[in-house]
Symmetry: C2
Subunit: 457 residues, 2 copies
């Protein structure tokens, strides 16, 4: 993503343009400023702001330490703010506070707000229910276009979005969706249903994971996805900007896990040294201990090593090839699973694709390796001994075996993890490499024994 | 991302619910059906559909072979469709056709449409200009709320979004933005400016990269981002759903590059065997050739190897640790750069963070390694010879050096690549590992010579 110069261009244009029209800072820019202050400063800054302004700030997930800031503000101000803020955001903020703090603020909220938030906080994290907001616009299907417009004007300020209007049947169940743009084009006097969407409705179960929510919103280009219970009653909506935030967070987590570490959960520069060590040392040590098996494997083949030191020369080369092919396969499968291109049940389809792929890739590398060895021998760069040809065959055969094994391991591991209800993204490149290294050594030496016994071994 | 069972729940609810309200299929579902047919079948299917329906289908990037399908349809039908479709989509479709086909269709488009599309096709790919649409709503700042509403009703069908209305000054320059929701709440008679956004305006240069666009839309929770030239004249808008599509595509590319291969550009199951081999073999072979240096390095230290076979036992363990720490660091930095958390100029900040981190992590692994060796020796699992203690020190020192080196390499490589205008995501785990492996061996044997010369060596 090489956009350094372009982004400069853009911001240049922005400055130039702002120059022409002096129009204050955006909320996002204000948030950046607040992030520059410490908690108490930020708290007093927010307390002095106009209520709508303060609400806009606190609404942004980009605002650091929002929970602490709120705790540091005069309780009356906070209560007023929380009562006007979007319920889903308030729920998130309360969840970040200690029990006592949370209870204290909770008791001072409006009853209706408190109930809605209570309900949101009951959903497990990372589900549709936990990221939805209960502040949507719904109208009975008996209403006219005009009635609906009047209603929207009155509630506009208190709703996260009014661009999708949800029409409820007499039974109170979600029956239709009307987009604001279509509503505008409707005849004031005619029924709301006259401008309802003709296509089938899309909605989600409150316990569906946020990944599924993101995929639906993406697939149907929606601005908001309604969340309904099993009886078809509306519980809330998830808006597209909430989804983008969760998408980014998930992708970052996956990328870091794939790099072989715990997800940081904070920007690189924001995280403290001890935490950084903790998040990285854990996996690194685990992998190290796993990799120790290579030492044991080598000890097991010590005899062969002493007889044929020439074999040791190719150990790093052969092992790394297995790790690399494994890392390719695992990155492909993790991503395909995350995007829903592959289902758990597709594992065998992948297997029968990776087997020939691995064999082919292994043969290619093996050929290169064999040629290199032959070249060095013939050109006299290095003498691999009288049995150099056999050594060459050993290297070739080992590479075919190890690269194939790497591709299989790398592609199957994510499926296994998902089957075990673990995150497939934990099948990190280093994890796969370690797995393949140990087996790779065993394969290498077994092949060597097979080909070289009687001559070198 | 363990959502398998949840997504099942969701779709169960969906079926159940759709049962209650029989409301046909969604566009996305129709698209899935079309993807099941071959090009000619799909073409005839589309030709028989109502125009709005057909337009909705062709508008979806998820529709496979859209360009070929269009080419296979009766030219009059196609012309009608292209004239009504969103310009940015038409531009994309035309770009996928062969020269002749493109020219033929292009000549039959309305003059205005043709001009707009021509302009879009002139922007370099992956820039704001290339993904924007020219179909937005703009009104003069002299208009009233009522006038604007009337205008929107008349153009609603022909615009990609009407939720953001762009107000142009007398000079035709973008001066304000009005959201449809605020517009509704305005006094019909009063000026459009009475409901304009109070905060500063956000917009972008047409040559800014799509990553920058995505970041701005995310940062400011926008539904659409205006694209303006250096004089502040509006060229088009990028809508949030276009951005989501590009975000997903970029992330997949990065993930695959990070796995050490070329980006597939297609779903895993859609790509053919030869293409799969090509995309994977290239990098794999390159890494293999790079890794050959390890063999050369080992050859260089052959003497030491023969004298102290015990040293070879720890080669895989020590090398892999360098690769793992490198992979952690590079995954952190690539992601931080992609999210704009880090700028190119931050490289030294990262360096002074990674140096102590690497030393710390190296010390931890070194300690574990040393303990393991001591344990095996004392417990009599294996005899590392009379100088086992010195061997232990060698392993410890080598690990500290190599893990530190790995963290530095892994964290700096993405910066170097970006500086060279290459994609930082190419600093893949395997790439870094290979880089570290060779140097790792040299570090290991140098440390060994330092500590063991006179005893083992």
């Amino acid at each position: 993503m090489n956009f350094h110069n372009l982004s400069q261009r853009a911001s240049k244009a922005a400055r130039l343009f702002r120059g022409n029209h002096a129009l204050g800072l955006t909320t996002a820019e204000h948030v950046d400023q607040l992030n520059g202050l410490d908690v108490t400063q930020a708290a007093s800054a927010l307390s002095t702001m106009s209520q709508p302004k303060a609400v806009a700030m606190l609404a942004r997930p980009e605002l650091h330490h929002a929970a602490e800031i709120i705790t540091a503000m005069p309780v009356d101000t906070v209560t007023r703010l929380l009562n006007t803020m979007a319920n889903d955001r308030v729920a998130d903020l309360l969840q970040e506070m200690q029990e006592g703090e949370r209870a204290r603020l909770f008791s001072r909220l409006d009853r209706t707000t408190a109930l809605a938030i209570q309900q949101l906080m009951n959903y497990p994290p990372r589900t549709a229910g936990s990221i939805m907001t209960t502040e949507f616009v719904s109208v009975p299907d008996a209403w006219t276009v005009e009635q609906t417009l009047v209603h929207i004007r009155s509630v506009e300020r208190s709703r996260e979005t009014v661009y999708a209007i949800y029409v409820l049947g007499a039974d109170g169940m979600l029956s239709n969706v009307v987009t604001l743009r279509r509503l505008l084009t409707g005849e004031p006097g005619s029924s709301i249903l006259s401008v309802a969407q003709k296509e089938g409705m899309v909605f989600i179960d409150p316990l569906a994971s946020q990944e599924v929510v993101a995929r639906l919103i993406r697939k149907h280009n929606m601005l908001a996805l309604p969340v309904v219970d099993d009886h078809g009653h509306m519980l809330g909506i998830v808006t597209v900007d909430d989804v983008i935030d969760t998408m980014i967070a998930d992708t970052t987590e996956d990328a870091q896990k794939f790099g072989g570490m715990e997800a940081l959960g904070k920007p690189y520069m924001k995280i403290g040294f001890p935490e950084m060590i903790r998040k990285r040392a854990g996996w690194l040590a685990a992998l190290f201990v796993g990799e120790m098996l290579t030492a044991s494997a080598m000890q097991h083949f010590e005899g062969e090593l002493e007889k044929a030191v020439v074999l040791t020369l190719f150990i790093p080369l052969i092992m790394s090839s297995g790790g690399n092919s494994g890392s390719q396969a695992t990155s492909l499968i993790i991503r395909a699973l995350a995007l829903g291109e592959l289902k758990l049940s597709d594992w065998w389809r992948v297997l029968i694709r990776e087997l020939p792929t691995g064999l082919m890739l292994g043969t290619i590398l093996g050929a290169i390796g064999f040629m290199r060895l032959t070249l060095w021998q013939k050109a006299g760069f290095y003498d691999y001994g009288e049995h150099w040809l056999l050594v060459g065959f050993t290297v070739f055969a080992a590479l075919v075996g190890i690269v194939t094994f790497g591709s299989i391991c790398g592609s199957m591991l994510p499926f296994i993890l998902q089957k075990l209800r673990l995150d497939p993204a934990s099948a990190s490149a280093p994890f796969v490499a370690t797995l393949v290294d140990v087996t790779g050594l065993v394969i290498y030496f077994s092949v060597a024994l097979l080909i070289l016994s009687g001559t070198l071994l």
